[in-house]
Structure formats: structure tokens, C-alpha cells
């Protein structure tokens, strides 16, 4: 079972799509709202070196943006 964290904001449509995608594939993840948690925002910024959302961390690998292809490859299924 992969360890997955998504740094997101409530208004970002790519974040919504990323979460929906994982939910549809029955993959569990932790959703971190960086708007509500400034410390989490700092963590996201230092992990990814940038300030755009979503940032998806799968087993320590940092994926910036909703890159379906990379997420699927990392988790071992066809996008």
C-alpha cells in the first residue's frame, strides 16, 4: 500500500480532479489543505521547491501538478 499525500487548495480544479482520480481507483491518500495550514504550505514549498498546487507525494516521490501518467506509472496501473 503506497503512502500518498496530496497538498491542495479547495478552489483548485486540478486538485479536485487528482483526488477524484485516486478515489475512483480506490487508492487511499491524505488530503492536506495548505490554505488552512500554513505549516503544511511551508512543507509543500520545501518538498517541491515551488508554490503551485497540487503537489502529490507518493512514497516520497514528489509529483507537481495532476500528472495522471506519472501517478499511474508510480502506482503500477494504466492511466
Amino acid at each position: 500500500m503506497a503512502d500518498i499525500k496530496i497538498f491542495s487548495t479547495a478552489t483548485c480544479p486540478y486538485c479536485v480532479r487528482a483526488k477524484k482520480y485516486l478515489t475512483e481507483k480506490n487508492i487511499s491518500f491524505v488530503d492536506i489543505d495548505v490554505a488552512a495550514d500554513p505549516m503544511a504550505a511551508e512543507e509543500m514549498i520545501s518538498l517541491s521547491g515551488q508554490m503551485g498546487v497540487p503537489v502529490i507525494v507518493i512514497d516520497g516521490d514528489v509529483i507537481i501538478g495532476f500528472d495522471k501518467t506519472r501517478i499511474a506509472a508510480k502506482l503500477g496501473f494504466t492511466p
Partner: protein, 302 residues
């Protein structure tokens, strides 16, 4: 393997084209950087016939469901970098991942935000410089930000940042704000937006992240301390990947009533073209027309 049709882009034009192509049983492949395009970033859509109110994201979900019904081949997260015509009159596309050959192409690649083109912007892109207030706004909670622009998008961004940021500068190159008067009034009465008209941003400053911007204003070069820069100065067509079709002065691909470009076998639809109205419903209609035109072209080839 030569396809009959490749559709570049999966926004409302591309997706509608995909559905029409599938129903005509055309051998079609869709290639797109994302699914949804600019529609995804629209908060409230109240003028797409049939939907009195829907968010852009939800409308894209509807489009996606409809497309999935037909099992159209879609290469997502793939960007077409170059399109050229081969001597055999087929069309060759190179993406960032592969290459494809096709008899016919529909370019429905939409538009992207215009960049400022000032020093520091590129290095600090996503490190404080952003083109999507909807997406990234909340990350700047309690920080000072600048919104560059003076039209509705800029006013919209400024207003949404009023509740989030500690301070909002609105840097407008023109003598006065444009956009709807309702929006202008809201910004002027917000109490938190400092409006700078006749102001030009000249540089974005910062090492790892944005720390300030340089603005030419009232005859002097001023440094404004901000951590975020929201660029809202319009959009440009995503037509750089093709250079053998006629384009207008704005770089948009010129099409006729049948969505034909100046090159045989090349069609275009939606916001990337010179269609005068850039609307979701117009793009969808253009996508449908383009496929019907492509279908007739393919039939004549046989």
C-alpha cells in the same frame, strides 16, 4: 500506423470533436496536455445551454463522461510540439513523448495565459509568479500580493485575494481599470486594494521565491514588497506548433466556415482559431463542425 484523424486538445472543442468522430466511426486519436482546458478554470458557467448554473470543473466532468462512453483513444499529459506536412500529404506530429502520422488533423489546442515577458518572471514562475488565482490564491494567505492587469480577470483575482492576502496591489498599465463596472466598484470599495493605474511592472525580484516587484509608476521606479504575483493580462493562442497555416495578427489560426485552414487536411476549432467569440459553447460547436468537415475530406481521399 497512419490514423485517419488526430485531434490536438481536449477542451470543449476537442472533446466534442472526439464524440462526433467516434459516432462517425472515424479512426481517431486525441492528444492533449490536459482534459478540460480553460473550461476547467472557470468558476461559474451560467451560459452553457442546458445548464443554468454549473462550475467549469463539473462541466468538464460531464464532457468527460460523454467522451468515455465512446471509448475514444486519448493520450493525456502529452503535448504536441511540432506539426508538419509530409510529401505524401499526410501530417506528421511530434509530441514530448512520441510521434504520429495521420491523414487529417483538427487543432483544438485553445489558449494559454499571456506572460509578462519581464526579467525574473521565468525563474520565479510557480515560485510566487502564478497565472491562476483560482488555483494558487490560498497559498498566499496573510502575504502581500500584486495582481497585474486591469480587466475582469484581474479584478476577479484582486477581489478573491482581498479575503486571503494581507495586502493587494493592482498594477494596471492603462489610465483606468476596464472590466464590468460592478467589479470595478467592488475593487475600489474593498478597502484593501491599492490601485496603481498607468503602472508598468518591469521586474520580478527574488532568489528562491518572489520577494518584490519593480514597477514604473508616477514617473519613478518603485519597489513593492510582495510574495505573490498574479498575472492576468489576457491569453495567447496555442498555435506555435504549426507554421504552415495562415494565422492572423494575433497568432490565431484562420479558418473558413467549414473550419478548414489554409493547408489541406488541416482543420482547426475553438479558441485557437480566429472565431470572434471565445466561449465554451462556441468551441463545442466549432469542434463538431470541424469533424464533419474532416469526414467529408477523408471520404474524398478514398
Amino acid at each position: 500506423m497512419i490514423s485517419d484523424l488526430v485531434i490536438v486538445g481536449a477542451g470543449p472543442a476537442g472533446i466534442t470533436a472526439g464524440i462526433y468522430a467516434a459516432r462517425k466511426k472515424i479512426d481517431v486519436l486525441m492528444i492533449s496536455r490536459d482534459l478540460g482546458g480553460q473550461t476547467l478554470l472557470s468558476a461559474d458557467v451560467e451560459n452553457y445551454t442546458g445548464y443554468q448554473f454549473i462550475t467549469g470543473a463539473d462541466l468538464v466532468l460531464k464532457f468527460e463522461e460523454h467522451l468515455k462512453q465512446f471509448g475514444v483513444s486519448l493520450k493525456e499529459n502529452e503535448s504536441v510540439r511540432n506539426i508538419r506536412q509530409l510529401p505524401s500529404r499526410t501530417i506528421f506530429l511530434e509530441t514530448d513523448k512520441a510521434s504520429y502520422e495521420t491523414r487529417c488533423v483538427i487543432i483544438a489546442s485553445g489558449r494559454r495565459p499571456r506572460w509578462l515577458g519581464v526579467p525574473g518572471e521565468e525563474a520565479l514562475r510557480n515560485k510566487g509568479v502564478t497565472y491562476c488565482a483560482t488555483c494558487d490564491g490560498p497559498v498566499f494567505s496573510g502575504k502581500a500580493v500584486a495582481v497585474i492587469g486591469g480587466g475582469n480577470s484581474a479584478l476577479d483575482a484582486a477581489l478573491s485575494m482581498v479575503k486571503i492576502a494581507s495586502k493587494v496591489y493592482l498594477v494596471n498599465i492603462n489610465p483606468a481599470l476596464a472590466g464590468d463596472s460592478v467589479m470595478r466598484e467592488k475593487v475600489e470599495n474593498s478597502g484593501k486594494v491599492e490601485i496603481l493605474n498607468n503602472a508598468v511592472i518591469e521586474e520580478v525580484l527574488g532568489e528562491k521565491f518572489v520577494r518584490a516587484i519593480k514597477v514604473r509608476y508616477a514617473g519613478a521606479l518603485k519597489e513593492l514588497v510582495v510574495q505573490g504575483v498574479f498575472v492576468e493580462i489576457g491569453s495567447v493562442p496555442n498555435a506555435d506548433m504549426i507554421d504552415f497555416v495562415a494565422k492572423n495578427k494575433s497568432g490565431e489560426i484562420m479558418v473558413d466556415q467549414l473550419n478548414r485552414t489554409s493547408a489541406e487536411g488541416v482543420f482547426a476549432a475553438g479558441d485557437v482559431t480566429d472565431v470572434p467569440e471565445k466561449q465554451i459553447i462556441v468551441a463545442a460547436g466549432e469542434g463538431a463542425k470541424a469533424v464533419l468537415g474532416a469526414f467529408r475530406y477523408l471520404a474524398r481521399l478514398r
